[in-house]
Amino acid sequence: MHLDLRTVSITPLRQTFDSIAERIGSDKPASRYQEATLDVQPDANFHYRPLWDPEHELYDVSRTAIKMQDWYAFKDPRQFYYGTYTLARARMQETAEGDFDFVETRSLATSYPTTAKDLALQVLLPLRHVEWGANMNNTSMCAYGYGAAITQACLFNAMDHLGMAQYLTRTGLLLDEPAALDAAKQTWLTDPKWQGLRRYVEDTFVLKDWFELFIAQNLVLNGLLYPLVYQHFDQALSVQAGPVVSMLTRFQSEWYAETSKWVNATLKIAAGESTDNQQLLSGWMKTYRDRAITALAPIAALALADKANAVMTELLEEFNTRALKFGLTP
């Protein structure tokens, strides 16, 4: 018997869904990210306005003063949709679990010098409440925002903050007793050093404009707090007592580096859309930047003692350079 093998090339009739092809052209296949993102949010056939807010549609572009021709312009450079997001976080979590295990099995926490431990707990533990605030705020951006391109990333961001609050909690439990968490809550509620930051966080809870909230939380507060705590304070602790705490906060510093890419890209797109947007964003950025600098000053002093002023000046400069890069006027 004679068998003849030949290759048959089958070209697909369609490369992707019609709605996606309308945006990217029908001649090339769409990425999973595009298929899971573009035009995913419903925008038609809502019969009634929500009872809790009859001024707006359920999904309404006018919930922010920022105007966009196309709300799906906010492409996430990390290309996170549910699948890639969970995979990326699972990888980071695996590393973090390994680090916690390492510290625990070698009893590094018990041999960690007491002064450094106390300082670490004083600075890190009240931040659980800041993380929870960031979770609330990003959930709010997701709820009131427009377009799945930005709202899905906000929700991922919200979950990240919840996760980081849990890592801070575990750091506390590893270095100290559960009572340390209660003490940190009291510090958050009553200690004058933390009231500025608490006011900042609680004031952002009531912001109605979700893009203003994005600036206040994701650009300004994270943009100053994370480098302060997870770079400068972390470095100071390592010099003083070795890298145990750096291992326990590794998730946060890696997360910040990754998420900044998304925040930068988002703001570059929003500011590049029109001068009106650029001015609005710059105005918000300046207002919250000045507030955040004041709110963080006592925390910096607590964490870095006499180096605090120099570090805060450096952070402010870095922040302004970063804002310039995506077209805001610092």
Binding site: S31, R32, D76, P77, R78, Q79, F80, A88
Partner: protein, 89 residues
């Protein structure tokens, strides 16, 4: 001038790689075959890490190319940032 070529399996990863290569090499032509994609280029072909990272949205190590690589021709010059094929050596 002789051609150099590189052939990858067709999948989610290599689509970004191929796009990046075509963007960086004007003279390159793409030849889609069942389950594989072949890129020919007269004289030389450069694969840049930065362009791939841009398309993929994550950090990329050029060594990851080999996971999906089927075949190539040309003299290879590899650095951390670029992988290039030519007939120079």
């Amino acid at each position: 001038m002789s051609n150099v070529f590189i052939i990858f399996q067709t999948n989610e990863d290599t689509r970004n790689i191929v796009e990046a290569i075509l963007q960086d090499n004007d003279a390159a032509t793409v030849n889609e075959q069942p389950a594989m994609v072949r890129i020919d280029s007269p004289g030389n072909l450069t694969i840049k890490r930065a362009s791939i990272e841009d398309k993929m949205g994550r950090d990329f190590d050029l060594q990851e190319l080999h996971v999906n690589l089927i075949s190539l021709s040309g003299n290879i010059n590899e650095t951390d940032d670029e992988f290039s094929l030519s007939w120079k050596h």
